[in-house]
Symmetry: C2
Subunit: 720 residues, 2 copies
């Protein structure tokens, strides 16, 4: 469950394009709703106001968005999050000579800290409901694409005005209930983030892809970073003059950890759930989209692994991408297994049948809601029909770096001709620098041989699409030739002539008008120009589809409320949520019980000496010497490594603080179990379990293995 930096950027770009959010039964509670929860009766030992207090300081002020979630753990801006959240930055700082992924990174004092490239820390300053203002632009009978565009435009205007009134801040509008409720958030972004302590891969990523999404887990998935600000205390880019940021609030660390059955809660930014989508959506995901994407990712991974063989420098270029693809692939496969296991589509169909029966008992209901399910069905049927066409267009830009570079350059030239507020989000003044950073990050790991192989496969697939779903730019390059030969010729020519692999050339291209761009004569920019009308047409189709679904899903919620006579909470949408539960094991299969706390003994059991089970000898020695210090669990007689709990999480909860009944830090969330990958579609009392690295392991590794006593002193775990 790794969330990488681009997630943040994708989020920023897509916030105004949110796919319909619907409601969830289960426990990702919007922070403003937690007073309804009677948390004290459930085990919380502090007042809920200590967690969230709109009128003063509370625990949420210590929680920060650093790609995924992080927490301040000292008054000097020390942030704890996952190893995999810092991964991209650690990789960016690594070279063949200084491989911080492999060996870890350790600043023995503040002055040895190095920039965490591409990382920012987002702090929530305030928020308010803006539903009325947003919805004021929707008119009865509007066509669906127009409706979507009008909402997007209004949100952009609200954001622009807010940012004008709050210089240096960023505004974002989150859609809570699809087509119903919108909340405006005002954020500060800290831009000077530095690496402090990152354990070696053999600890931070112990178990690697084998153990990813698995329990029992023994991964030390944590890292420390620090936020800096300018000498005047305001957000600033990296500078040696900058000083540590002083957060309004930081979390108290609980070195005594937790036991089985203990109450815990998490704060974090869960990404996206789809719990109230219909069976039509789920069947499309199960039968069409997820199998296609999982296979496509598996294919790309095998290409990259082959390319990486025997060359560490090439391997490092591919590492982060392979990690991201594998992660999604395994997640999808877990979901596919889970969907089958719990027969979710079948269950949904039964629920929908019951709902339809309810609707048809009453003429008024029938008039208002009678055809909702039928209409939704129609939309997904149509979507199925051109699914591969859309998937190929989507992955052509996402999987092939050169198409991504060329298309972004061409689209930028078109968009920059428009007024700021009318542009696609990625090209608005407030976002364009992030778009450029993302391109540069991709270019840093660009590897031509891999890109060629992937483009060839995509073009071959496109060449086999049915007649009514042709992509004209691709048809043009093939014409009457043998497709395979034409594709080979095209690839040979374009890659030898393009200069988009040069940072300067790429950045120059991003400042041109369409006419100027034409003169640069880059084959991938020219190819992008040919693709542009196809993508524009697809965007129109998708906006109309979203508009139609938004309206239908919004009505569906209304009638479901009437039918089930209960309220719902919104699906996860990357806004701050609280979820609570207990340290608790589960039964993954007949006759198997997984206990909720692993220990260092399990690391020793799994260690083979070969990656990803290559525990550092020093850690083995500490274990053999039973040098557990104060971090030994009295019941387990060893140092706990990971903990399991039945709270409700999803992607984006990576790095979330796990807090005990007193609101103290006992773990850093980093994964879910394989069985819990279907959390995105449904929550299960039996299977939904999330995984954190235990704070005792974090502290033990940091002190005994890393030898970084000063961090424990800074967190008040050791006396100064």
């Amino acid at each position: 469950m790794k969330k990488r930096f681009f997630t943040l950027i994708v989020f920023i770009f897509s916030i105004a394009l949110l796919i319909a959010t619907v409601v969830a039964d289960e426990g990702m509670w919007p922070i403003s709703e937690i007073h309804k929860l009677a948390l004290r009766s459930k085990g919380l030992e502090i007042s809920p106001e200590k967690i969230f207090n709109p009128k003063g300081l509370s625990l949420i002020d210590a929680v920060v968005q650093v790609g995924a979630t992080g927490s301040f753990v000292s008054q000097n801006g020390l942030i704890i999050t996952n190893h995999h959240v810092a991964y991209g930055a650690v990789q960016a700082a690594s070279t063949k000579e200084k491989d911080y992924i492999k060996h870890g990174f350790l600043a023995r004092n503040r002055f040895e800290e190095i920039p965490a490239k591409g990382r920012t820390a987002r702090i929530t300053e305030s928020y308010r409901d803006v539903s009325d203002a947003v919805l004021s632009v929707v008119k009865e009978g509007m066509d669906f694409a127009k409706r979507t565009k009008a909402l997007e435009k209004k949100i952009k205007e609200i954001v622009a005005e807010t940012e004008r009134k709050n210089p240096g801040k960023r505004a974002e509008v989150a859609e809570m209930f699809s087509g119903k409720t919108y909340v405006l958030f005002i954020y500060t972004y800290l831009k000077d983030i530095r690496l402090v302590y990152v354990p070696p891969r053999s600890i931070g990523e112990f178990g690697g892809e084998v153990d990813n999404w698995m329990w029992p887990r023994h991964t030390g998935d944590f890292s420390f970073m620090r936020a800096y600000v300018g000498p005047d205390g305001s957000s600033a880019e990296y500078s040696p003059e900058n000083v540590p940021f002083h957060p309004k609030k930081f979390l108290k660390v609980a070195p005594e950890g937790v036991d089985e059955g203990d109450f815990v809660f998490l704060l974090g930014y869960p990404g996206r759930t789809y719990r109230h989508r219909t069976s039509h959506f789920l069947a499309f995901e199960e039968e069409v989209r997820m199998p296609y994407v999982a296979d496509w990712y598996a294919w790309q991974i095998s290409v990259m692994e082959k390319m990486s063989e025997g060359d560490r420098a090439v391997a490092i270029k591919h590492l982060s991408r392979i990690k991201g693809l594998s992660n999604t692939m395994k997640n999808y496969r877990g979901k596919l297994k889970g969907l089958k296991r719990v027969r979710l589509v079948e269950r949904k169909r039964k629920e929908e049948k019951a709902l339809q029966n309810f609707i048809e008992t009453d003429e008024n209901l029938k008039a208002e809601y009678g055809n909702i399910l039928e209409e939704i069905d129609k939309i997904y049927t149509q979507r199925r029909e051109q699914a591969e066409y859309e998937l190929i267009l989507d992955y052509l830009r996402r999987s092939v770096n050169m198409i991504y570079f060329g298309y972004t350059a061409y689209e930028a030239a078109v968009e920059l001709q428009k007024k700021d507020l009318e542009r696609e989000s990625a090209y608005m003044d407030r976002n364009f620098h992030l778009t450029k950073e993302r391109l540069q990050l991709t270019l840093r790991n660009y590897y031509e041989p891999t890109d060629k192989v992937i483009l060839k496969e995509m073009l071959k697939r496109a060449a086999h699409l049915p007649k009514n779903q042709r992509i004209s730019a691709i048809d043009n390059l093939i014409q009457d030739a043998n497709p395979e030969n034409a594709i080979d010729d095209f690839i040979k020519k374009t890659y030898s002539e393009t200069r988009l692999n040069e940072t300067q050339f790429l950045m120059e291209a991003l400042a041109k008008s369409p006419q100027e761009l034409k003169k640069m004569k880059d084959p991938f920019i020219d190819f992008a120009e040919g693709l542009y009308p196809t993508y524009q047409k697809l965007k129109e189709v998708q906006k109309a589809r979203k508009g139609a679904l938004d309206k239908l899903y919004s009505k569906l919620i209304d009638v479901k409320k009437k039918f089930l006579k209960k309220d719902f909470i919104p699906d996860a949408n990357k806004t701050l949520r609280l979820t609570f539960g207990r340290i608790r094991g589960y039964q993954p299969a007949d006759a198997v019980y997984y206990k909720p706390i692993t220990t260092v003994n399990g690391i020793i059991e799994k260690t083979t000496g070969e990656e990803p089970f290559d525990t550092p000898p020093k850690l083995m020695d500490l274990f053999r010497a039973k040098d557990f210090g104060r971090f030994e669990s009295p019941t387990l007689k060893s140092v706990p490594v990971c903990i399991l709990y039945d709270t409700d999480t999803t992607g984006g909860n990576s790095g979330s603080p796990v807090l005990n009944a007193r609101g103290e830090l006992v773990g850093i969330n980093f994964d879910r179990t394989y069985e819990a990958t279907i959390n995105d579609f449904a929550w299960s009392e039996d299977y939904s379990r999330s995984i954190a690295v235990d704070i005792r392991y974090v502290l033990w590794v940091t002190q005994k293995f890393g030898g970084v006593d000063y961090l424990l002193k800074e967190m008040n775990v050791l006396n100064k």
Copy 2:
């Protein structure tokens, strides 16, 4: 943990050649010792005399050897044992058209039963200690090979005399304590055994090699056979006139099954354990023999699987052999993992050091026992030096069918010239028919292309042995030629000329003198003649080694008794043993707990539709309909499938009845857990767990799936 028919034969042949048996700490109790166990205080609810009563009938009279262990469960000779114990006979009865392995075999009444080819049922008639008689031939200062031969000869004489006095019975002498105690058993062998009900492979072998040696398990590893005797009640070969055998005693079936924590005990014929061997033996096994054999088996399996591809008839020929090889391979790999995990060699070395220290504190002890460990070390050092040479000679005869045929024919010709009592056991009149049957069984599944590939590999390995370990017959066939070419030529010529693949020719060869044999001009018989002196020399070396080790191990036990001040029970040696314990789970890895009872729910979870997880649709339907009848566990709300318990078992315990505190049948033992494969070397409170199919699953499948009500009536589970 499959024991096939040849195990029985190997046993019969090797009983007089038993490798030194030493003593065990743990619980495979000789049946005559169980009065020392205070079983009632441990949970037994019946008198121990109900289990074993030398003066009358008891439960042991219902236990029978049918390759591995079986039990009588009706007064009409109905035997229950494992599916894998019947496997060879089911395979032998199968053809491409009537595949009883795949579809199972079902006799709807007695008259539909078919012969279980190659199966016999051994019933113990009586036994007595013959140690004094056996040891009377050993003289002080005898050389080691002579000592071994003298003991072998004496045992043969005792057997011959006993059989002369007990016509129709077979006598066998079991070495209990190496070089110390010998017990004479008198057995009746029932020869007309028939198949009654064998579930399809998809039940009886559900999980296949994937689940073999694993828990949680969902294999319905049971079958029913029936023993017949002549109309006069005496043992007889198959005849339609035969009548069901009436056992002296049969087991009562307990359809209510067991619960976690319940007391259970097993009766059976555990094969061989090595618990008191020294570190030298274990290090040789761990470092040399087991890795070599596991790799060699893996290689053979891959050859056979390749040969079987796409041709079911060829696949059927290989099935049983692949099964046997895989089973041993996985067992060895489990042992290798276990030895490493518990650091057994290291532990043994420490114990031996302590023992040596003890010996050296006393001059008398030192004089008597001071150099035992050093001498044992020397023997294994020498064995290591020529390990590959011995392994190649061993597997040349075992893995290559043609060498096995040719060598047996040649050796038979030589041995049959001798007086009966002086022959190798396999060629004595009382055993020779079994030797022939075994050859025929092998010939039935002979497949020339596989045999050629395996011979080629063996010859290539032999060609690479060091100069002082050459096999002259193989050197002769290569001479000065390029080894690979010479081997290819040899194989081409021999396989095209040999007639040993014809049953009649092979059987004729077994009746010839060496001179007559020569005239048959079969290339593999001629090759065997060339190999004969090498094998004879090796046999001498091995007998001398055994003699030396017997004496050393015997003294080692004496001094260990003095040191540890306790008694030991003999290692398993295929004689009847009792072991007891409780239904109990275990922790196979950090944070994982395995519960001790699986259910049909787990079958559904594992079912993929693909072999070996291709549950029959009818069983799925029975599950979905919750048609559990009286076999549902009230606590688990499903039909239990397999049970786990902490008794002490090893190979040979396959088919052992698992009995509850009242001595009623609650399961059929068929496997151990992966972690328990090291039972052969050491027993572990934490890991040693054995696996049975639950009697409730046996009865549920037999009644509801098989529809064989009459068997349940015969076992008094249903009213007649």
